[in-house]
């Protein structure tokens, strides 16, 4: 049997966690390319690997890219002519816009196995020299072999187009507490 030893927690006081600053973060190896052609020209890369990882990033693009309901809002963030229609509709049937994919990032090859999934990259209007992930993590301006903060290599979250809300909660309204 384990008896608890003394502990102290400030409970019920919602803790707002302070995010670690990026400079303390461990870096990991990655490769960044503007497009598949640039990847294929890199003597460090195998052409088949370029195609697989590009496809992997391209397939995620529509799902993970930031979404806007107006083209003007999208262009304000990503620049004139840098946005495209997303393959989604709002619940009212309106158009959805997203930035164009401006590059992709793949993990380094370790023992023949890639260390992470590839993901699409974007460039913002304010800072067009650097690439950023769909979750707005800066991965620098260098292409080819580079190193990036580990947090930038995590899988980008889906930013989808919610078509409906409120489909949960009716039993709670009817029965009250879920407690047992």
């Amino acid at each position: 049997m384990k008896f608890r030893s003394s502990f102290s927690v400030s409970l019920m006081v919602s803790a707002s966690l302070i995010a670690l600053t990026a400079c303390d973060e461990p870096k990991v190896d990655a490769s960044v390319f503007k497009n598949i052609e640039q990847c294929k020209k890199d003597p460090m890369m195998r052409s088949g690997e370029c195609e697989t990882s590009f496809k992997e990033a391209r397939n995620q693009h529509a799902a993970v890219a930031p979404k806007y309901t107006s083209q003007a809002d999208c262009q304000a963030d990503f620049g004139e002519g840098k946005c495209e229609p997303a393959p989604y509709r709002t619940s009212g049937g309106g158009s959805v816009f997203m930035p164009m994919m401006m590059g992709y990032m793949m993990g380094s090859m370790l023992g023949g196995r890639r260390s992470m999934m590839s993901q699409p990259l974007y460039r913002s209007a304010k800072n067009p020299g650097t690439f950023r992930t769909a979750d707005n993590r800066n991965v620098g301006s260098k292409t080819g072999r580079t190193s990036v903060a580990r947090s930038a290599t995590s899988r980008p979250s889906f930013k989808s187009n919610t078509i409906s809300r409120g489909g949960f909660g009716s039993s709670g309204r009817r029965f009250g507490s879920a407690a047992t």
Partner: protein
């Protein structure tokens, strides 16, 4: 097992405020009573409760193993057919569980008997894990209890450890009916434990969950929900409008879908059917099972809906006469019949022993006391100590 009167803290109102518990002048803390505590021996705790609960957990897993392979069992539990494969898959994939509370009838003169297993949405967690512990520290400090007193209470560390072991990838969402303070408070505490384990989290109301055009669940910022820690029962989720999206949503649910089998009072006849005469089980049958006559004819039994909460719609029959009956919204459910095992009576206080399971280990004790044989939402948690 003894009930020992105790002196309450003089600063009880302050303690309540520090912990976000409701304090009513003249009545004390809602759901809490420290004018007495229960004392157990180490052997009672280790052998009669802790070992028994972990053994019952193992039996429960054998029930799940059988249920997921049996359409007739899932049907009997009232689980919608659209979820049969989904639940089976969650079990076969070994999706991890976090929390549960077994309610036991225990009087220290014989084995503890399982009355039910709150395996999906248990509450009184904070009172068990934190407030009861703080009471003991205070009571030891002020000499209100003998100095060698201990407590079965490893709930907090176990929860933090369990969250580390869950290997949650990215943000975890925590959802409940936030208008119910008890539910919100319990889930907030669980979220604190997750954060202590390094999990990134945010909380939202059940009704704020959205669904996108790919059938995935979303939060109010349009982020997809990948992990959902819910204080909202599976039977409600499955029945509600968005329930149909659950199997293809890609969401990792905590508690996992297979807990729907354990949180159903149909568990009790299923256990009895597989492990008849086990010392920690009570004879139990589905009401439509012909074998039920052995209990009905004996005249002493309890009738419970498959799915009910907080002691609602429970009927106790003693000598063929109704001894107790509670109202509630679950009267239309299929019922089970369970042998009547009265809670021990300490001067008209009826303590129900709740054994907290975290990741299937018995790690904490919560005594809830009511002045009736059925423990209702008006019951109060009393602290416990272990002393040899």
């Amino acid at each position: 097992m003894q009930r020992i009167p105790a002196t309450q803290r003089v600063n009880l109102e302050l303690a309540a405020r520090e912990h976000g518990l409701e304090y009513i002048s003249g009545e004390g803390i809602t759901g809490w009573d420290e004018s007495a505590y229960y004392q157990f021996t180490l052997q009672q705790i280790e052998e009669d409760i802790e070992s028994a609960a972990e053994e019952i957990e193992d039996l429960c897993f054998q029930v799940v193993d059988r249920a997921v392979n049996s359409e007739s069992v899932l049907n009997r539990l009232g689980i919608p057919e659209a979820f049969w494969d989904y639940i089976a898959q969650s079990w076969k994939n070994g999706e991890k569980n976090l929390l549960g509370r077994m309610d036991l009838s225990y009087n220290s003169n014989g084995p503890a008997k399982l009355l039910e297993y709150n395996a999906d949405t248990p509450t009184t967690l904070y009172e068990t894990s934190v407030f009861q512990w703080e009471w003991l520290e205070h009571a030891l400090d002020k000499g209100l209890v003998p100095e060698k007193c201990e407590q079965l209470n490893d709930v907090h560390e176990s929860l933090v450890g369990a969250f580390s072991d869950l290997g949650i990838d990215g943000l975890a969402h925590f959802a409940c009916n936030q208008e119910i303070e008890d539910d919100k408070g319990t889930l907030d505490y669980i979220e604190e434990c997750a954060r202590e384990a390094g999990v990134k989290s945010c909380s939202l109301k059940m009704e704020d969950i959205g669904v996108d055009d790919a059938g995935r669940f979303t939060d109010l910022e349009g982020h997809n929900i990948n992990t959902l820690v819910k204080l909202y029962p599976w039977e409600w989720l499955m029945e509600e409008e968005f329930g149909s999206h659950i199997p293809t949503s890609g969401v990792v649910f905590i508690e996992p879908p297979w807990k729907a089998i354990l949180a159903n009072k149909g568990l009790l006849p299923l256990l009895w059917g597989m492990f008849e005469d086990h010392p920690n089980l009570l004879p139990s049958f589905f009401e439509d099972d012909p074998s039920v006559s052995t209990l009905i004819d004996g005249g002493d039994y309890v009738r419970k809906p498959l799915l009910s909460r907080q002691g609602a719609n429970i009927e106790i029959v003693k000598n063929t006469k109704t001894l107790f009956q509670s109202d509630g919204p679950y009267a239309d459910e299929l019922h089970i019949i369970q042998a009547f095992e009265p809670l021990p009576n300490f001067d008209d206080h009826y303590p129900l022993v709740g054994c907290w399971m975290v990741a299937s280990k018995a790690v904490g004790l919560c005594i809830r006391e009511d002045n009736t044989l059925v423990t209702s939402p008006l019951a109060k948690v009393l602290p416990h100590v272990i002393l040899d």
